[in-house]
Symmetry: C3
Subunit: 138 residues, 3 copies
């Protein structure tokens, strides 16, 4: 049984979803684990991680619009030190979550055919985001 871990840095272009599926697949492949467990932790409170549809781009457009409706910008937040998009970003990160776990089976991530791994940036401006990555297996 072995482990591998790293801190991955990803530059986001501002609000939206960055596909990190290939980056994670390559990292798992070079670790040489046939069976195991991959864990991701987004080290921020206004960005998050999710697994969603990787084919139809419209799903991510609708998802962003829906998050905006559930956590709109506005004057009713106490916390607005960093601007009107700050508190909504914390709420969207809470809803989607900062953790993902993916079993590794037969040397690859056991994702479904239509599943992609996304880093969700909830702030308007570009940010450098860090993801703690851990893999255990054999």
């Amino acid at each position: 049984m072995r482990q591998a871990s790293t801190i991955l840095s990803i530059d986001t272009p501002g609000r939206g979803f960055t596909d990190i599926t290939r980056a994670m697949a390559e990292w798992v492949a070079q670790a040489g684990i046939e069976e195991g467990l991959l864990t991701l932790l987004c080290r921020h409170t206004s960005a998050s991680l999710l697994i969603q549809e990787n084919a139809a781009r419209e799903v991510r457009v609708d998802l962003a619009a829906w998050l905006d409706r559930l956590a709109p910008e506005g004057a009713h937040y106490m916390h607005d030190d960093e601007g009107p998009d700050d508190m909504p970003a914390h709420l969207k990160a809470t809803l989607t979550g900062v953790n993902l776990q993916i079993p590794v089976i037969d040397g690859g991530m056991a994702l479904g055919t239509w599943q992609g791994i996304y880093l969700a940036e909830h702030r308007q401006k570009p940010h450098r985001r860090e993801i703690a990555v851990h893999l255990i297996g054999a």
Copy 2:
């Protein structure tokens, strides 16, 4: 330290919650792990996994109605290729999440007394769903 993993297939009867607690408990028991970590990944983007109340059926009825209010069907989605229940299903799966992790202690899942594990089907029609399952421990 050992590992076990599998892909579990589950037929859902359409929209609603399928209790998979017993199936998971049996799979953990036959693996013979006394202490470890169980991980589940739902391999779909319009179905999801959650842990909720296993006694009062009304909780699941209220939960389904609440998800309908937060992610209603309607004409305001760009993505509707597969019907009006498709995009709301992606949103509900995002809110509830596709991952669960359950510590195994003293040979069994360390769930609370009132906790059950549910596969949530968010599409109207029955589907065959797959869950990637991973267990590590000793």
Copy 3:
């Protein structure tokens, strides 16, 4: 490779967020694991776990108010055996989730600078809550 696991009991003062970051850091430190994976499971369906901003208290005030807007108390729930705050508590626990995973790197939890671990109590009254904790690594 080694494991450690325990059931942690925490008394909440009623609705709100209890910071358990230091308790978890101390537990990880005494386990003497340099690289590994920490998993938490809240063993309840009306309390939950989340990672959020640890500096500005206003973020948690806004978060609580937002959860109240998304899952308000009211007469439209079927499940109200335990009072008007019961079903909203189940919904808030579903949105935030009962699981957290934190990679351990260089002997400590790989949290971001501004991240704290919170036990979220969604019932009005104080409760004793249990968290199943699992650590694997070397």
